[in-house]
Every structure is written in C-alpha cells, then in structure tokens.
C-alpha cells in the first residue's frame, strides 16, 4: 500500500522551474527522506503534497486521495511541520496544543497516547509562552501539534536545519518512535548523513530527482572505485590528486580526501606511490565504500554535464 504517490509533477514560478517531472512513491509506515540542498525544490513538493499549492502538471495522491480533488480530506489525515515554526508565539505551550487539537475537531486528552512520548518532555513548561521556549523545546511542541490529531502521514520540512549535531540525533530518535507507532513520515533535509536514518530516500537537485531507493541501493550503484587519501599538507594534496592519471574526482571528506578513480587506469598502490614521490608526507591510501554524499556529488555532477 502506498501512502504517497507522485506522478510526473512539475511546477514553475514564472520562468523558474522549481520541479520538473517528479515521480515518487512512499510506502505506508516508512520514513522517506527527501534529501537535497536549499533551492532544490523540496519545499515546493511539500506544499503540493500538503494541498497548499497546485502543481502545473502531473498528479499526486496522499493516502489514496487526490491532492487536487480531495484536498479537504487530505488535510484532516496529515500532519505538517513546515520549515519555519508554525507555533503561535504568544500562546502558551498548552494553548498551542489545545488550539491545534480543536482545529482538527479532537482533544489533547483523546489522543494523548500519540503525543505522550514527545509532549511529556515539555509538559513541565506548559504554562510558558511558545515564544520563550528554547529551539529544541519549540521543535518538540511543533511536532506534538502536528501529531495531536493522529495523522496517517506526517510531513516534516527540514526539521533539523540549523540544529546542532546532538539535537539532530535526538530528533531522529523521536522520528523512529513515531514511525513505530505506525505513522508514515515524509521528511526533508539538506544533511546527507541523515539519509542512513531513512528507510528510503530520494536525492533532489535543481527540481529533479537524481536517484531514489534505499540508502544501500543508491550506494551500490556508485560507478567508481573510491579511495580515502591522507597526506601532509592536505590542501596542496587535494590539488595534486586532481591532476593525477585515472582520477575522476577528488573532494575533502573530513580528515581525508575521497578520490574516485577509474580502476582500469590506476589503483591505491599507484596513488600512494605517486603522492609519496611528489613529496607529501605521512601518506595513507585506503579503499573505502562510498556514502550517500559521494553518490549525491557524483549524480549532481552528471546533471550539470547533460
């Protein structure tokens, strides 16, 4: 059973093509990640799926309902947490939650079990104005408000943007629990490392899906041999590697450079010999498996050349 089906959706703002020919399917009960940088079209797709914007072309359905014809019914079945906080800053924590429950014709009491896990963490501050909450607490409240009517599908548009590495991890732990309660989660993020926390992902760039599947499927399609290379000094090493035979691409990845090579032309031993001979010190070269970020860069790079 599919909870979201998107078929050939396009949307332009004037001359700017925000989405071109997007097709995706999201299974019931999965965490599906839409991964891409700012300006890729993520928010436009969210607004179409949450019935706030009409596509120029194509069709989409959520829980089997058409986003255009059945928009009113969809709105009752989904929860939506937009990128910017949707809370009423001058209402208290409790008032915000009551408000959202009432709008959806329910009560906090009736669905307390749905939000207990998250809401209990901020309940001690229920008298506090939402505007006076910390970023982490606002996020928990916004999530509670988006869940209080027991939606089938939860839409989260960049919930972790600008959030530090520790709080990001906490947030994903909450999502795993929401998923366990049977809710389908459609979430967008610019952080490539969050891909591994999703059941399936779609990589989006310049309004196009450049690949989709489970993180393992995407990684398995990476076409080159990948090496992690280290040597001092690092930045001159980066430039040197880019000029070597058989090197397809070379970028920094934390403490090492990731070097994609054409294995018919070169290999780890040749690279190591080459950079050592060029005078770099403390050189190390090791064969590694690519991550989603390596795949994204390769696929996005192909897009430019088309």
């Amino acid at each position: 059973m599919k909870d979201i089906e998107i078929h050939n959706v396009s949307k332009s703002y004037g001359k700017v093509k925000a989405l071109s020919g997007i097709s995706l399917e999201v299974d019931k009960g999965e965490i599906f990640g839409l991964i891409g940088p700012d300006g890729a079209g993520k928010t436009t797709l969210f607004r179409i799926l949450t019935t706030l914007l009409l596509a120029d072309e194509g069709t989409a359905s959520v829980t089997g309902l058409d986003v255009k014809k059945d928009y009113a019914m969809i709105r009752r079945r989904i929860g939506y947490m937009p990128g910017r906080f949707s809370l009423y800053q001058d209402l208290s924590v409790e008032e915000n939650l009551d408000f959202f429950a009432t709008v959806f014709g329910t009560t906090v009491k009736e669905n307390y079990d749905v939000i207990r896990d998250i809401y209990s963490q901020i309940e001690p501050f229920k008298e506090r104005r939402a505007g006076a909450l910390s970023g982490g607490m606002k996020q928990k409240l916004a999530l509670s408000c988006a869940l209080v009517h027991k939606p089938s599908v939860l839409f989260l548009d960049e919930p972790t943007t600008g959030v530090d590495a520790v709080s990001r991890r906490d947030f994903w732990n909450m999502l795993a629990r929401i998923k366990a309660s049977g809710v389908t989660v459609f979430v967008s993020t610019p952080y490539m490392d969050e891909a591994s926390l999703c059941d399936r992902v779609a990589l989006i760039m310049h309004g196009k899906i450049i690949d989709s599947g489970t993180p393992a499927q995407i990684v398995s399609k990476y076409p080159y041999t990948l090496l992690a290379v280290k040597g001092t000094p690092m930045y001159p090493l980066l430039k040197h590697l880019r000029g070597m035979d058989g090197v397809k691409g070379c970028f920094s990845f934390g403490a090492v450079h990731h070097v994609s090579i054409d294995s018919s032309k070169t290999g780890a031993d040749e690279i190591l010999a080459g950079i050592s001979a060029a005078g770099f010190t403390g050189c190390e070269v090791r064969l590694i498996s690519p991550g989603i970020e390596d795949c994204f860069m390769d696929l996005a790079g192909r897009g430019h050349k088309e």
Partner: protein, 245 residues
Amino acid sequence: MENVIEIHGLTKKFGDFTAVDNISFNVRKGEIFGFLGANGAGKTTAMRILCGLSIPTSGGGTVAGYDIVREPEKIKRHIGYMSQKFSLYSDLKVWENIRLFGGIYGLSDKQIASRTEEMLSGLGMEEVRNSFVSSLPLGWKQKLSFSIAMIHDPRIVFLDEPTGGVDPETRRRFWELIYEATSKGVTVFVTTHYMDEAEYCDRVSIMVDGRIEALDSPGELKRIYGVSDMDAVFRMLAGKARREE
C-alpha cells in the same frame, strides 16, 4: 607567533543568565579557527562581542589589534563578516554589491574601481558583472560574498555558518576558497554544524554551557577523547550540556 584575536576572561551576562562564562583563547595569524558548540552554548553572543557588536560584562581582549571594550567601532571597520543568512543584496547587480560594500568600508572610488576589476577577474565573473545577484547560482553567490567580505583587506574574516543548506560539492568548493585565503595570510574564524568541516580547521574550540570545554587541533582532540572523528568528539562534549537555548 602573532595573534589576531586575544581574549581573556570574557563574560557576558543578561540579567542573571551567564551566556558566556569566563572564556579565554587566542587565534593565530593565518589559521582557520573553528568555533563550535551546541545551539544555545553561547557562540552567537561571543561572536557578537568579537565583531564589536556587543560589549562584554567583564574580561577583555583584542581583535585585529583593537580593544573589544574601548574600540568596537574600529573592530567593525577592520574585520570581514559573512553569513549564509545575510550577505549580498539580491536585487542589486554584482558590481553594485561590490560598490556598496566598498563604500561602506570607506574605500575611495578609485580603490573600488580597481578592486572591482581585480575581484571579477579573480572570480572569473566578468560576464555577470551586470547581472542581478538573485540570478546567480548559489556557488557563485558564495564566492562573491566571501570576496566582498574581504574587500577592505581585513586581517581576519568571520564566517557564520557559511555553508548551511548548500549542496555537498559547493560546500567543499567553498572550503577551497577558505584555504586559498589563509594561504595568503588571512585568518578565518568559522562556525558550522557540519562536523566534517570541523576537520578542515587548524584548531577547533567547543563551547558547552557558556564555557570553552575543549580547544585543540582536530587530530589532538580525537586522540584525547579516543574517537575516530570530530562528530564523536562533539557529541561527547556537547552531549553534556545542561542548558538549552
């Protein structure tokens, strides 16, 4: 070794809340200094003081040779600043942005004219000189914004989350610009939420609850905490935080 920032006992209180709690550190000329911390750790408050936008409650020091308590206006004139959130005016043309910031930093018309040519040819952006900034690809905007932050040849440039939300290749190309700049002697003070970028810094400080909990090279920090990457170091330290924003 020459220091571009020297800070001792820096404290900032808002009422009875101590946002920055007695921090001391130096930033050396030509280094890339990563300024990390969880949301609410006090990074923004500390950075505002270093940029001359706020006066500390106690403690002091110098930035680019000027006193942070007595000479904040001079600091503003002698540092560069760029953030992802605000940098260029998108409804001005490329040359107009350069002109505007050149004027703000007190360059003469003659200096602005020569800097404009130098910058556009250095960036390979001559043919977009008359384009609106809004029409440029993100990577170009970033390059331009970084160059404009250094239009007045500051000794130090502050980069506040310069790569947030940017695609992975553009993010890395931006760091290559940072390396180019530091190889010419500019000092870079940078904040980021991407822990792989922490590895690109010469030294990194990690703030927790208003204090600097650790300060060293990424290699040394990983060795001290016995972990393999900066993400793990960050989580060990920032995970101990007791306060939220």
